[in-house]
Symmetry: C2
Subunit: 373 residues, 2 copies
């Protein structure tokens, strides 16, 4: 009798499931992990491809199992599958992730021993192998190229003197146009993007605002690119804040504060450090420089998000570098992306990806950076 980890999800949406079998499917299916063995149960639609393309140790056909289960008291198909798996692999208990579908959990609970293991599913992908680091590096390299491509467009653009609108090749340069250029660039190089952020001035005061309409000179332009490489499935993620024209003293202060904070954070990363302390450092640093978190008139301003997030097959994964205490260990990979956001000044964010090493950290994203263009 043995314990079995169980997932029921679409591997297009669930990085843990994709990690088990390196197989993309849009519809949910069952997968089991028993020691190092992984087993998938798929429909006739996916059976042939799953056997060929996936790394699952075994691929079972859903309809074969349904035929094999002859107990007439079991009518629910999912129950039939689970009872079959329980018997076939001698499963003593099924262990499911926190986000296992609740209704299915309630159904299975009446049938078989089933329990959660938050820690296992949250952390199973936290230590990246050398091959994984190479995949993330490749994704970050594409991200960096895309940022440089966007930067070149901004550099070549000119501002009209009356409204400070940016023009590129004779036409107004909008967020939409620059986003489309960046995403087309990534796509041609094998990276899928969606929702790339190109936000200017006040729009950039909302960190996840995609940006719309014209880009302006003398204002912050935040560019946040996070492509997923189609071949490997791994994400890159990088943010650079640019300004075309002349920066004011306050803009220089804001930028410099974020840049210094990011460097300080990166310098503090090593095994044994608690992510909560990194978060506290950033909060204190901004506070001391007069840019602390504040909520006024129903608006949140200052440093309004966490320091970063894990990166891999998921865009946001474990560990979160925020108020939840996580002690850093070698081969964790995450972003470091402090930022400042003000309604009257816009936003500044600088984001890179780091891998914790035995003594400190390695930058997985590199990009020459000159922010005033």
């Amino acid at each position: 009798m043995t314990e079995a980890y169980l997932i029921y999800a679409s591997s297009d949406r669930d990085p843990n499931l994709f990690y088990w079998g390196h197989f993309r499917a849009p519809d949910p299916f069952f997968a089991l992990k028993i020691n190092e063995k992984t087993i998938a149960v798929v429909s006739t639609l996916e059976y042939g491809r799953c056997k060929k393309e996936s790394t699952f140790s075994e691929v079972l056909l859903w309809s074969d199992i349904l035929q094999a289960v002859t107990n007439p008291s079991i009518v629910d198909n999912c129950c039939k599958i689970i009872l079959y798996l329980q018997k076939a692999y001698g499963v003593s208990v099924f262990i499911v992730p926190d986000d296992f579908p609740a209704h299915l959990y309630e159904t299975l609970k009446k049938l078989v021993p089933i329990k959660f293991d938050t820690d296992y599913f949250q952390t199973q992908r936290q230590f990246k192998s050398e091959a994984e680091v190479e995949h993330i590096k490749a994704a970050c390299q594409l991200t960096s190229q895309a940022i440089l491509y966007a930067r070149a467009i901004l550099k070549k653009s000119c501002a009209d003197t009356t409204q400070s609108l940016l023009y590129y090749r004779g036409k107004i340069l909008t967020s939409e146009r620059l986003r489309s250029a960046i995403e087309s660039y990534c796509l041609k190089k094998g990276g899928y993007c969606a929702g790339t952020i190109v936000s200017c001035a006040q729009q950039a005061a909302d960190p996840h605002c995609e940006g719309m309409g014209p880009l302006y000179a003398n204002e912050f332009i935040v560019i946040d690119v996070f492509p997923r490489l189609n071949q490997s499935g791994y994400y890159g993620d990088m943010t650079r804040t640019f300004l075309k024209g002349v920066a004011s003293m306050r803009q220089k202060q804001l930028f410099s504060c974020v840049q210094t904070c990011q460097r300080e954070l990166i310098g503090r990363i090593r095994p044994g450090v608690n992510t909560r302390d990194l978060m506290q450092f950033a909060q204190d640093y901004f506070e001391q420089n007069g840019f602390g978190l504040r909520k006024t008139n129903d608006v949140c301003e200052g440093f309004i998000h966490s320091v970063g997030h894990g990166l891999g097959l998921g865009l946001h994964e474990y560990p979160s570098v925020g108020i939840n205490a996580v002690v850093l260990e070698p081969n964790m990979v995450f972003t470091i992306e402090p930022g400042l956001y003000f309604r009257d000044g816009g936003g500044v964010r600088i984001e890179d990806v780091v891998q914790v090493t035995s003594t400190g950290c390695q930058l997985l994203s590199r990009c020459p950076y000159q922010w005033i263009l």
Copy 2:
């Protein structure tokens, strides 16, 4: 006291949540629906944007609520939020979708009345409004343009005489190259694609094989394009099977069988029809023509998937047009995509999108179709 529907999910991944607030966010958040009122609880990161961009009736700040709940016996943050919402809106019972996160469900169950309503969440988006139909039509129009664009490339390509490899503009035309061209085309017109299928010959025998390597003359080439319009969030979906060169008698039979089956299916759609009967019709039709489902040597061949799937903010949504019995009603929108798949012959699939009308159905996707190029 009133019933409240409750979702905890990322609206990037959960169409039901996106439907409530028309707001994209990568990280999970709580949302409530009480009668026609929708309420979101978000972090400082998303607060400003959610208030500006979303259609939620109310946007609450996560940290405000945590501060407001002073009961020291409640330590879990999610529990604090739910207790606050229960009191603030006089909630008698929380109603959650089947795929609500199981661990959170188990936690909340000890605290508040909570139950499932499979039917509500499965069907709340099934009847498309006029505006939604227009969005889907627009997405299908882009899909059709992308298919015509791909067709033009195939048409202009030439085959070498020895290996039947296709060449376009002097270089071998591969699945990857044609996919990239299609996806770039869609992206420029505001549609996000991922995993567009361009599969040739034996590869096309797996319906979801993306396709890789050279495309060949005299073989089926299946092109399945399903972009999501960035602006509206709605999907289009269309498949066309082409053949460059000369089709064999068997290829013509296969193609004609699928095409006739699709026309027959579309002709049968009207209110009152059961989807199971459409599935049965397709199965019988293929069986009678000698192309029925078969499993030989661990390989599934013939008609190995369902007739179609609902389409909207989700790529695969309710209703599924397969063995689950659903009675069609006006304004349901779904694909009709019969197909045949054989190891020795490749695959043929033809897919269009229909809207059930009061008397029959309306095609939402139109595309002139000449399959031999």
